[in-house]
Symmetry: C2
Subunit: 533 residues, 2 copies
């Protein structure tokens, strides 16, 4: 090595070049390995494409099929999709579309050729018109949507063979030829896709659904912990309103579940085209049940979205009020998150387990929360009823949230804004703009005539503050109720996962945890309690 270091300038240059090459190669490798599935797909496509190309380059197939061999390459290009299911679906669509269209075109072409002179092209044209209209209408039929590609190929082959027939080539030979060339292309495409590093739609669906359980659990935990910590957040930012990626852990947790409906649906459709493979070694694997589980997860998500809205609501329970029910709310969120994770684990590991055991911890926690709300709900309503005066002034100096108090003050200073000048372009990045919008919003809310009030002993401002105080304490009740709603929807989820496990033949596991769900819950609680403090 020392020898090399002390060698001639030529060798030095050479070493530099090598290291440059290595750096370039490494950065390419880094780039490609970021999303390995995409690289794998590109590589597979290149292999299939080249194999089809060889058909045209090598003498034997070319001498048999002639220039038509290009159809095999086109078939590979068109049929080769990301997942195996999609490739199968397209390949079969293409095959059947070609076959049927070939048969129809040969028959119609023969009939049309009975007309002599000008009648022949008119009949061909009329047949084209009718076929075109009917096939296009059929393609738009709702139940025909998965076969849309087949309809398109039908028209292409139909016109191809009709033209050949009209132009006095040998239409039958051409139809057979075209069918076999397309078959050849489809076989190349499908074989490469299946036998070289296969990417199954079923696997992807399984992963997505399993992951969504965990991210919902994360989302729920973070949301409840932030709430109990008394985080004061601005209202829902525009990015979240628009469903775009945003830097909010709660939102990031549930976002993928919220937007993945179409993807899950199409993956399930493709997966149903796939033969039994790997973990899913079962004929007629119940892929549609994954979609069902996904849909019910989405339904749980709607409740979490509502919880998130509570967390970011302008009218908030003061942190002292929240702390009254802290343990119970925390226990419910922990139990629900644990249930989500356990169910996700069941799906992910393909294990069956006792739904009742999973839910018993949740039920216990929910009941304790309800009981606690029952016993102490009087703390949530208006402070000056008399009996609570003492307790509240001691324990909780119920204050309006800072935002609102600020708005009252600012309003006096800022005076009236010109509303038409404010409702224009939204640039969530500009703090100035945000400020203006905030003003507008805060200004627009407490807008009321004095006469509306039925009590007049206090100043209007004081009354206003008291109404908002009451609403703010009430919002804790809402938060708790929504949390209970999440817990209740878990029941449906347990059913759906059970059903999936039954139909998919998940493995039975020895019920070791059926006795101690509470212990596990508590254990989990202590593990995560640092979040609350």
């Amino acid at each position: 090595m020392d020898d090399l270091g002390a060698s001639t300038p030529f060798l030095n240059k050479y070493a530099q070049k090598v290291s440059l090459c290595r750096r370039i190669l490494r950065s390419i490798w880094h780039f490609l390995s970021k999303e390995p599935a995409k690289s794998i797909h590109a590589l597979k496509m290149a292999i299939a494409f080249t194999l089809a190309f060889l058909l045209a380059l090598i003498e034997l197939p070319y001498s048999v099929f002639g220039d038509h061999i290009i159809w095999a390459i086109m078939t590979v290009i068109v049929v080769f999709e990301f997942t195996i299911g999609a490739t199968f679906s397209k390949g079969v669509n293409r095959g059947i579309g070609t076959l049927l269209a070939g048969l129809l075109a040969v028959v119609i072409g023969e009939l049309a050729s009975l007309g002599k002179g000008i009648v022949h092209p008119i009949m061909v044209g009329a047949c084209a018109f009718i076929t075109g209209a009917m096939v296009t209408y059929g393609k738009l039929w709702p139940t025909m949507k998965p076969y849309e590609y087949g309809f398109r190929i039908f028209l292409i082959t139909f016109s191809y063979i009709m033209v050949a027939e009209y132009r006095q080539s040998d239409p039958i030979r051409m139809a057979v030829n075209r069918f076999f060339i397309i078959l050849l292309g489809a076989v190349i495409g499908i074989s490469v896709n299946v036998f070289v590093l296969p990417l199954w739609a079923g696997d992807e669906l399984h992963e997505i659904i399993s992951k969504n359980f965990n991210s919902l659990a994360d989302s729920l935990e973070v949301c409840v912990n932030e709430y109990l910590r008394g985080a004061v957040l601005e209202r829902v930012p525009t990015k979240i309103l628009m469903g775009l990626a945003a830097d909010d852990p709660v939102y990031e947790g549930y976002r993928s579940t919220l937007i993945s409906a179409a993807k899950e649906e199409s993956l399930a459709t493709f997966a149903s085209w796939e033969p039994p493979h790997g973990r899913f070694w079962k004929f007629r694997y119940p892929w549609q049940n994954y979609v069902k589980v996904g849909a019910i997860l989405r339904h749980c998500t709607y409740s979490i979205v509502a919880l998130h809205a509570c967390l970011r609501s302008a009218i908030q329970a003061p942190v002292q009020v929240r702390s009254l029910f802290r343990d119970e709310i925390f226990a419910v969120s922990q139990a629900c998150a644990l249930a989500f994770r356990k169910l996700g684990g069941q799906v992910s590991l393909m294990q069956k387990s006792d739904g009742m055991a999973i839910m018993s911890g949740v039920h216990r926690a929910v009941e304790q929360l309800q009981e606690s709300l029952y016993l102490r709900s009087y703390l949530l309503v208006r402070p000056e009823t008399g009996i609570l005066e003492q307790k509240l002034t001691e324990e909780l100096p119920l204050s309006v949230i800072p935002e609102i108090k600020k708005s009252e003050v600012d309003m006096e200073v800022a005076g009236r804004f010109n509303p038409t000048a404010l409702g224009i372009a939204v640039k969530p990045e500009s703090p100035l703009e945000l400020n203006r919008r905030q003003y507008k919003r805060l200004y627009s809310w407490p807008h009321r005539e004095v006469d509306d009030y039925k009590f007049t002993k206090d100043s209007v401002l004081q009354q206003k503050v008291r109404v908002l105080e009451s609403a703010s304490a009430m919002s804790l009740g809402t938060f708790a109720t929504l949390l209970v709603e999440v817990a209740m929807r878990l029941d449906y989820l347990v059913d759906a996962v059970d059903e999936l496990g039954e139909l998919a033949g998940f493995r039975e596991v020895v019920k070791e945890q059926s006795n101690g769900p509470e212990q596990q819950g508590e254990e989990n609680g202590t593990n995560h309690s640092m979040f609350v403090l």
Copy 2:
């Protein structure tokens, strides 16, 4: 007419046949006119297809382009999409893909042909491999998604010309030929699509978004009216959980908003390809703002979903409690529905109007609801606190909801179920199955050890009932808070519609309604008050 009726059997038969034909034609017409857009599309496709076919049937173009004329027909078939924007997008993709691939293939082919003997096919194969891998990888790039079709066409043309080049045809002539034929097909497809009964993606997007405002308003109104009427509904049925169409007016109202995200996105993409037309006579029309409005509508929908969950929740406020706040809740729902409709009208008629004026009715109603909650929220908490005893026993015989009472009784009779036998297949249609599942759910909820209770003066059952009573009254507070949340999200919607109006240049309208939103609200209230009674 009488003559015909009394004529010979032959004429009779003839008349029968005519009436049969007429019936058939009428039913076909009925069938086609059900979804006119689909029929129009099919007709247009047939026209374009036939026109392209004529190129192959008539001597002149055929003598120029020969058998390659089939590419024009294929281009029409492939490019012809439902909306004009989609057709443009595909046409341009196809054109540019073909052009670039043609250039690249000619250059690479010439370079590869420098290698003699076995080197030539090897170089061609290597080029195919590299091109295939790179193009496929590029296609998967997230920002390249709209151009996916262009990449595919690139590969097809590339292979087509490379093979031609290898097989000693005239590649440049072929590339030019192919380009012009494809251009011809694209021109036919696009012209027919634009000039014969055009279907614009922009129009469809505009309609969808406008309609969603009204259906959300309907959904909200029905939901609140049902709630105030004290409707006792079963829990959310599986169909709704799965996002399928279901016979529930509340759900049907918000469903389309909930599931239309992907559709709105793709329509906006296609619309941005469309030239200015009709009402949208503006260069760079802000289609993405429609998507934004749609997204914020979806965010409002999540709150309505939560309201709907309240309506169908197992734990419900008794109708007497609901009636305490009936007027205020009804006023908020009416004001919100009116605001939704007004905003929808603005979008639909492309008018600008004052957002503050629209919202002032909503703000007033929300404040009255909050005030009322403040003044009477003590009615929502546990009845035996003492001060309320008298009032409650007079006004509200707070009873547990029938479902739960029934479950307590049934439980005694039914004994313990075997839980593993219950968690299996869900068939929402079977009433027996539903019953069993209902049992399971009702059984599974009130499951708790007696020791958990901190008070022991009543029997366990009585205590249990009281806890549920408290939770049930509390659920009214949740309903009200969620309703307020809907109202608050309307602010964002007003902003988004304002922004859209500003950028799209909606017409300014004379502000006639800016003084009397309350009057309109009240008027509306009386119109719809029959729903409540």
